[in-house]
């Protein structure tokens, strides 16, 4: 019973988020950056309501620079996927959050950056890549796990 009520509550919250965000959000980016690395040190996921783009960018230290070109994977985003993203966070909640969570870049993990562009402004949050705060955890998981691991074979 409790599980059922929790599910209902979650669905209702997700629906409210979707309703609010769908009129305001124009695009979302999640970027992970590892300063001291070789090879593809930056992975960036960007989505708007029509497309999703994954970019892998080489680092700038001498050994890796110019050895690899920037990789870009563009694919179409289904409306259901975009709605899933919009329902995964509350814009109202993000408005009151600090701009930096934890200590990004202080340890060996990647630095995380979330950018949400709306009609009115652009929200930007820095976080520890491996430990995103609860308020954006679902969105970051969707962006870097679910939405960009399929369609990569389809050319």
């Amino acid at each position: 019973m409790n599980y059922f009520l929790a599910t209902l509550f979650f669905l209702q919250v997700g629906f409210c988020n979707l309703k609010t965000n769908s009129t305001a959000v124009l695009g979302i980016t999640v970027r992970y950056f590892s300063p001291l690395c070789e090879g593809y040190c930056t992975v960036q996921y960007t989505a708007n309501q029509n497309k999703k783009v994954m970019m892998e960018i080489p680092g700038t230290i001498a050994e890796s620079k110019n050895e690899n070109n920037i990789k870009r994977t563009v694919s179409l985003l289904r409306p259901s996927e975009w709605n899933l993203l919009l329902a995964s966070f509350s814009l109202e909640e993000l408005k009151n959050l600090p701009k930096t969570f934890g200590c990004p870049g202080c340890d060996d993990g990647p630095m995380g950056l979330l950018i949400i562009a709306t009609k009115d402004t652009i929200y930007q949050f820095n976080f520890e890549g491996e430990e995103p705060p609860d308020s954006i955890r679902k969105l970051t998981v969707l962006m870097n796990d679910n939405l960009f691991k399929e369609n990569t074979n389809k050319k």
Binding site: G27, T42, Q44, I57, K65, V74, I115, E150, N153
Partner: protein, 303 residues
């Protein structure tokens, strides 16, 4: 206003790379740096995605042209740029015989790969081989699991006011394609179409291309069902250079599926040019018996 000015500024600083003759090491360095700047700009301004991607495409195209210019002779350089440069990685069979005369990749395996919504539901089934002489064969596949429905694939896009008639919108469906692999590594994709251009029409880059002919898409369907729709909408079309304009396109669905594997014929009817790029006027979807096709070719796309 600030972001669009910044974008214009980025375009301007890209100009020295775009306008020029041949690719020098300095050009390559600049290309890399400009690509990085554009990638960063895309991340910071996801709302400008379309215009930034167009600029990246233009930058890439110019770099490829410069690299090509280095290799070709002066006589060839004097000729206009071929419009089929984007098809250079494609092989096509002569007729519907299962052989590629120009095959040069050695022995390979053909796998049927499904495209589910959840990665854990993906199926990869070996269905054939390609011999080093280019001859290949494909056998029928067993059923595969699916996690999406017919309405996820066949419906009107871009408008809430136009409806699609499904007699059972929740019938399970999954698309699949043929992956060509060597030692477990994917080296290309095999498809059926009337031309290389038609196979390219199926790529994200060519979704709206209007090269004439048809291609065959493979779908596994849970049970008998049908879809009918006639959807007209406007899209923003570009020649990836200077022209951007609204054009009208139509998607027509007249599909009667049976349970099991179905071959969906996707055909282009009429085209409209934006610059030199053809966009389709009408795209029709129907289910056909693949045994009766005579004008289809096999197309291999080398990754």
């Amino acid at each position: 206003m600030r972001t669009s000015m910044k974008l214009q500024w980025l375009f301007l600083i890209c100009l020295p790379v775009i306008v020029g003759a041949q690719m020098t090491p300095e050009d390559e360095r600049m290309y890399f740096e400009k690509s990085q700047q554009l990638a960063q700009f895309l991340g910071e301004h996801p709302e400008k995605m379309d215009s930034i991607l167009n600029e990246m495409d233009r930058l890439d195209k110019e770099m490829r042209m410069k690299k090509t210019t280095k290799k070709i002779t002066p006589e060839k350089a004097a000729q206009p740029e071929t419009t089929e440069a984007h098809l250079s990685n494609y092989l096509i069979s002569s007729g519907n015989d299962m052989v590629f005369d120009d095959w040069g990749y050695g022995n390979a395996e053909i796998l049927l790969v499904t495209q589910p919504y959840k990665p854990e539901n993906r199926s990869e089934i070996k269905v054939g081989i390609i011999n080093d002489d280019g001859r290949f064969s494909i056998k029928k596949s067993k059923p595969v699991p699916f996690d999406r429905t017919i309405k996820d694939f066949f419906k009107c896009e871009g408008s809430q006011t136009i409806g699609t008639i499904h007699d059972n919108p929740d019938m399970g469906a999954i698309p699949a394609y043929f992956s060509v692999r060597q030692d477990g590594k994917e080296i290309g994709v095999l498809s059926m179409a009337t031309s290389k251009q038609q196979a390219f029409n199926n790529s994200p880059a060519g979704k709206y291309r209007g090269d004439s002919g048809f291609r065959i898409a493979l779908f596994y369907i849970e049970g008998p069902t049908s879809v009918k729709a006639n959807c007209t909408r406007n899209i923003e079309a570009t020649d990836y250079n200077e022209i951007i304009k609204q054009i009208e396109i139509t998607d027509e669905f007249d599909l009667s599926f049976e349970a099991g594997w179905n071959f969906v014929k996707v055909s282009i009817h009429g085209s409209q040019n934006v610059g030199n790029i053809p966009y389709y006027k009408t795209k029709k979807y129907s289910v056909i018996s693949v045994d009766r096709l005579t004008d289809v070719n096999w197309v291999f796309y080398r990754l």
